[in-house]
Symmetry: C2
Subunit: 210 residues, 2 copies
């Protein structure tokens, strides 16, 4: 039963399920039940079935799911059957580390370019990824068909950065700067806020623990 609106949380879990299936496939397992999968990876079996049911009927009653078939389905559903080009804005420590991280991670995401406003960095390379002037973002993004922009600039420059991204029509943004960004509605923005995460852990240390 194809559903029109799939929740954000479901899409996150699809990615987790895919990872589980990769493990199972690597272990040579052919078939898996939602219950077995849930037990092994600490999930809820009803939720797995419900999440998958958003996209079709992939299971076989009395049997379970075929590992490799379901894997293929998830890859297609998540749009991982083709390469995605990523641009990282901010070629400081974090930006370059992320560039490196995504390169190693064998995935369908490839960092095509880095951007910065520091003249000393522009023109240099990180591995084989060139650092461009942020002023040329639109042109390079178009040339390299960048679909995902990663913000790794200081907090104070993040809002201006997402506005530059916005103008180019890129619709997927991952933000690492510790600020709440405002962007137009067509942009899908995911923020990784380490300050917030740490402070929330601090609350736990101060209150919950023990």
């Amino acid at each position: 039963m194809k559903s029109d609106k799939v929740s954000e949380q479901t899409t996150k879990r699809l990615s987790i399920y895919l990872r589980c299936l990769n493990e199972l496939a690597a272990a040579g397992q052919v078939s898996v039940s939602s219950e077995a999968c849930a037990k092994r990876f600490g999930l809820n079996s009803a939720q797995i079935r419900k999440d998958l049911a958003n996209f079709g009927e992939f299971g076989h009653r009395g049997v379970g799911y075929n590992v490799s078939a379901l894997r293929e389905h998830l890859i297609r559903i998540l749009g991982l059957d083709r390469q995605h080009s990523v641009g990282i804005i901010g070629a400081g420590r974090l930006g370059t580390a992320l560039a490196d991280y995504y390169r190693v991670l064998d995935s369908n995401f490839a960092v095509a370019a880095l951007f910065d406003n520091d003249k000393d960095k522009i023109g240099k390379k990180v591995g084989d990824i060139e650092i461009f002037d942020i002023k040329n973002f639109a042109a390079v993004a178009k040339r390299d068909n960048i679909e995902v922009a990663v913000i790794a600039v200081p907090a104070g420059e993040a809002q201006a950065t997402i506005e530059i991204i916005d103008k180019t029509g890129i619709s997927a943004v991952m933000n690492f700067a510790p600020v709440r960004l405002r962007a137009s509605a067509h942009i899908k923005l995911k923020s990784v806020d380490m300050t917030t995460t740490l402070e929330s852990l601090s609350y736990f240390l101060a209150n919950d623990s023990q």
Copy 2:
């Protein structure tokens, strides 16, 4: 009205509120209403009031909240009125970038030590932070009073790493490895999974966007 159980999401937002208050304080604003704050930072005013009400009555009816007083309250609630010592395990690109990131970020979190199992790295320094043998984790963690452990090792080593952390009694862990970790109940684990985040963005690119 003090509540016994505060939701995870509330604690995350407290951190965001604190950031807002810092901005307002820096701008010299003395007082702010939940409505004005919500508008400015894209939040919901009722939620702000409700979140704060978990910890006391900080507002003044007809007036709003005193910026600096509320700021002090949040700092205390979040346990940010003292320094926290952080240990980063994995001195690769990501681990060292994070070490650098946390150093710059002027906060109450200070990276006390890095850990690795690579003999070539052990003994070296990143800035003024020494890289220790992971075998000495318990001893160094105790010596430096490490309260928060950050996992920045390859996926395959993450589970073993959290087990090492677990044994020392550290109860706050931030994980950057792209795996779902199992830990004993007393550990508060926050995972930042870039693979999951990117794949979820990929779903959006493949389906939602226009």
